[in-house]
């Protein structure tokens, strides 16, 4: 499902202009990371995707739906949104019930809900904890429950707000696997992150925001090599990219594998 953002400006009621004439198009099945420092407008932008915020000017279309004409609850069929803090959404007695809440709201038939819950449990590796109370889990696993509860809604578009905050290495790996699987299934994934290395390793397209505008937008390799523009918004290039830049490699690299291939070539030259 296509996402079309045309000339989007947004002003908060307190007068702060958080977005200035942002235009973007995101094709079905794209994996997009949105980066930039605090206050750059990242969260304000993605909150427009499911109608939590409505444009002050311009418009946002999800497929053929203009977000101004659909409620958040309706838009939830098309856009799943994982909030940053799982504790601000978990309320049921078991993990499985929590995951079923979203699909039930969307009115899916019982059998389909069953399947979706099973699938989400498996993707997040929560099977063994299905009957546990979410609040008896560690914050790391609570986050997985929150993610599973959105995965189970089976929306064509998924938005993650800072999914790696407070997660350890194992959990970040799990997240990367989930994102890869969503890609394989043809879902659109849009992730806000300040973990630039996570961004480099898992996203093909990167959008850099600053001062409510899009500063850079393009393939990860092109965007993440632009150290000077990134510095404007207080972002360092990813570690591997920096290593490549320091060694003067011919191309911008994002992952250890890419680095080694490029480095081997450079040594041979």
């Amino acid at each position: 499902m296509n996402i079309q953002i045309e000339n989007l400006s947004f002003r908060y009621p307190n007068g702060v202009l958080a977005l200035r004439r942002v235009s973007l198009e995101i094709a079905p099945g794209e994996q997009v990371a949105v980066i930039g420092q605090n206050g750059a407008g990242k969260t304000t932008l993605v909150k427009h995707l499911n109608g939590l915020l409505l444009p002050t000017e311009g418009r946002v279309r999800i497929g053929d739906w203009d977000t101004r004409h659909y409620s958040v609850a309706k838009l939830a069929r098309r856009v799943g949104y994982v909030f940053q803090n799982p504790d601000e959404q978990l309320f049921t007695k078991t993990v499985a019930e929590e995951i079923a809440f979203g699909p039930r709201n969307l009115g899916y038939p019982g059998e389909r809900i069953q399947e979706l819950v099973e699938d989400a449990l498996q993707l997040t590796q929560l099977q063994a904890m299905r009957n546990t109370n979410p609040y008896d889990l560690s914050p790391t696993w609570r986050k997985m429950v929150a993610i599973a509860s959105i995965l189970a809604m089976d929306t064509p578009i998924l938005v993650f707000d800072e999914p790696t905050t407070g997660q350890d290495a194992a959990s970040v790996t799990r997240l990367a696997m989930i994102i890869a699987e969503l890609k394989r299934r043809g879902k659109t994934v849009i992730t806000i992150t300040h973990d630039i290395d996570f961004c480099a390793e898992n996203f093909a397209r990167v959008i850099v925001m600053g001062g409510g505008q899009v500063l850079l937008d393009g393939p990860a390799r092109t965007v993440l090599g632009k150290a000077e523009i990134l510095a404007q918004t207080y972002v360092d290039p990813p570690q591997i990219t920096r290593l490549g830049l320091r060694l003067g490699l011919a191309e911008v690299v994002c992952t250890p594998q890419e680095f080694l291939d490029a480095f081997e070539k450079q040594c041979a030259a």
Partner: protein, 259 residues
């Protein structure tokens, strides 16, 4: 984000300079006469001759009259209508509406009561507009109020905007999961569990961590505490407080004497 967590407006004025306890005494020095003095026009005169001028003396007339139009007037107005219509008794019937009777006596009674409430809420509003909560608490703690008690008051004052912010995030999160909070009344009632659950649980976690946080800063230390804020208590303050206490006593006496 909520930058303003109190009603306090920072200005240089005679009212701002008063000691917090003096201002608190002033609040009750207005409320007690308004409710107790048997002379019918007392609250009305207090409002016109004392409360309104005080707002100008404190240089917070703008904020005060905004509060009056948005909050105090509607509340007092509502009270007036309800009491005028529903308080039974009185002989001079002015109008009859179905089962309701409007008499001159109930009208007068309701008017006085509404103005009393007006005076009460106004005094508190002026107090909050011109007194920084930290100053009040530091002052009261130095006068012997237990620190824990002061903390609970301040933390409660601050937690309300926090809870509001949290509640709106929770609502946003659940709506994003397809929860319908907008259509029918029945739906809204059903939607309460997913909204209240995270609010309560989140608060429990928060209370535990916050307890650790203030404990880590020596909150329960038995040493005598000091205060960052310097609070002045001038002879004028002491004089005013005595005067106000006399006024309160006098209104109490007048009540007993004339009834």
């Amino acid at each position: 984000m909520h930058e303003r967590l109190s009603f306090y407006v920072k200005r240089e004025s005679a009212l701002h300079q008063l000691n917090p306890l003096t201002k608190l005494t002033l609040v009750f020095g207005l409320i007690l006469p308004a409710f107790l003095v048997p002379f019918y026009w007392t609250p009305h005169l207090l409002l016109l001759l004392v409360v309104f001028p005080l707002a100008f003396l404190g240089k917070v007339q703008g904020e005060y009259f905004t509060a009056v139009t948005k909050l105090i007037l509607p509340a007092a107005g509502f009270l007036f209508v309800m009491q005028a219509l529903f308080i039974p008794g009185g002989e001079t019937v002015l109008a009859k509406l179905w089962f309701l009777t409007l008499t001159q006596e109930s009208l007068m009674y309701a008017f006085a009561n509404a103005v009393r409430i007006f005076v009460m809420v106004s005094s508190f509003t002026l107090f909050m507009l011109t007194t920084h909560p930290s100053e009040l608490m530091s002052d009261l703690t130095q006068r012997g109020l237990p620190g824990q008690f002061a903390y609970v008051i301040i933390a409660t004052l601050q937690i309300i905007p926090q809870m509001q912010a949290k509640a709106s995030t929770i609502i946003a999160a659940q709506r994003s999961r397809g929860l319908d909070t907008e259509s029918s009344f029945a739906r809204r009632v059903q939607a309460l569990v997913p909204l209240v659950g995270p609010l309560v649980f989140g608060s429990l976690v928060e209370v535990e961590e916050r307890a650790i946080a203030i404990e880590a800063r020596g909150f329960t230390s038995r040493r005598p505490k000091t205060s960052l804020r310097e609070i002045y208590d001038r002879p004028l303050d002491k004089g005013l407080r005595w005067l106000l206490i006399l006024i309160m006593l006098a209104s109490l006496v007048s009540r007993i004497w004339f009834s």
